[in-house]
């Protein structure tokens, strides 16, 4: 999917520019945006470095285990395939907590670690049950050429539906642009973020029900 999407955006953009006669803008855009990407990476080196350092402290001191323990019932409900006590639970818990508090930069390293753990987990289950691919029907496993597992899909859908409690960046921009009450978006934002997360969870659960039905039939 990513391959096709990237090709479409590049090719369509350049073709479109040639019809519109603003090819110079394309060249400029490529220079500007590659610079922007690297600037962003340099910024991320600092911020993600610090948050990942904080997370490492929390892992080694057992704090992450405690957070995961508190959130376990919820995580288990969403990701029934992750065994209790697995490290993926900890990173998913940290990712969710950071997202809720609006700490996007803290959520990223936790989320990427969760992804790694989910991949390891997927490989393990695939090895333990060689007949799995057949059993689940059309659901492929990860070693069949870079397929995402159901847990990975569920995790990312949840992550993207992002339950954020305080939209701190938007409030800052609003006050910068002379809003009379910059924080007036807090309540409406909480309602709509709850709706989007609910939609994501419903989607995940529908897929799960369909999958279980297919599993039972086979």
């Amino acid at each position: 999917m990513l391959n096709i999407l990237w090709v479409i955006m590049m090719a369509a953009g350049i073709l479109f520019a040639s019809f519109q006669g603003n090819m110079a803008a394309v060249t400029e855009a490529f220079i500007d945006s590659s610079t922007e990407a690297i600037n962003l990476c340099i910024f991320m080196l600092g911020v993600i470095g610090v948050w990942n350092g904080m997370m490492e402290i929390a892992v080694k001191s057992g704090l992450m285990k405690r957070i995961a323990h508190v959130m376990y019932p919820f995580i288990h409900w969403l990701f029934p395939d992750i065994p209790p006590g697995h490290k993926a639970n900890e990173y998913i818990a940290a990712n969710m907590a950071a997202n809720m508090l609006g700490l996007g930069w803290a959520a990223t390293p936790a989320g990427l670690k969760a992804m790694q753990e989910l991949k390891v987990l997927d490989k393990k289950t695939a090895n333990k049950a060689p007949g799995r691919k057949k059993m689940i029907g059309s659901v492929p496993d990860s070693d069949a050429g870079g397929h995402a597992s159901d847990m990975m899909c569920a995790f990312l859908v949840l992550n993207i539906s992002s339950l954020q409690l305080i939209p701190i960046n938007m409030i800052a921009y609003r006050s910068q642009y002379g809003s009379v009450e910059p924080a007036s978006i807090v309540l409406p934002s909480i309602v709509s973020t709850a709706i989007s997360t609910l939609a994501g969870i419903i989607f995940i659960k529908v897929i799960e029900v369909l999958r279980n039905r297919r599993r039972r039939r086979l």
């Binding site: 490529f30 990407a37 962003l40 402290i57 995402a148 305080i166 960046n169 709509s192 709706i195």
Partner: protein, 175 residues
């Protein structure tokens, strides 16, 4: 509301304080662990840097060429049907790819209509309840070398569209 914002200033410092103190009293080598984590954080960023370049360049070209405006023009009838103002559509489209590009669109709207206008409120709420779908999927999956994303994109889009519709409806209700 003011107290709420005041409280939000405490979040980051308090979390850092709690993590460090908790680690210290659990007799772990806090400083050493922190350095290990930072080192690993660097590796994470270096790992995702190529993806960032690829993504931002393609978005930059797509936007600068005018193709983005063309696509949002195509979507305008759909937007009218859902009572979404024309200025909001490009924000929705760009939001899926890049947070910084979407923010610049939002700031343009703030400049033109003001942050407290109905459109200003709508995009503020929308930005707060949605994520950069493609960006997140790409960064996360590329970091573990997964190319077949299966049902991630449909699921993420369901959540994003639900959030967008919610922000339009809620703005209409309160304004």
């Amino acid at each position: 509301m003011r107290a709420f914002l005041y409280f939000s200033d405490f979040i980051v410092p308090f979390i850092m304080f709690y993590i460090v103190i908790y680690g210290f009293f659990n007799k772990s080598d806090v400083y050493e662990n922190f350095l290990d984590g930072v080192k690993e954080g660097f590796k994470i960023v270096v790992n995702i840097a190529p993806t960032m370049v690829a993504l931002l360049v393609s978005i930059g070209i797509f936007r600068a060429s005018g193709a983005l405006d063309f696509v949002s023009g195509l979507l305008e009838p759909v937007g009218k049907l859902l009572h979404i103002p024309a200025a909001v559509l490009p924000v929705f489209l760009v939001r899926i790819f890049s947070s910084s590009a979407a923010t610049s669109f939002v700031l343009d709207i703030f400049k033109e209509f003001g942050p407290d206008s109905s459109i200003g409120m709508m995009v503020s709420i929308m930005m707060s309840c949605t994520e950069t779908v493609i960006y997140t999927i790409t960064i996360y999956y590329m970091s573990v070398k997964i190319t077949r994303t299966r049902w991630t994109l449909p699921g993420a889009m369901v959540a994003t569209v639900a959030g967008t519709i919610a922000s339009v409806v809620i703005t209409r209700m309160i304004m």
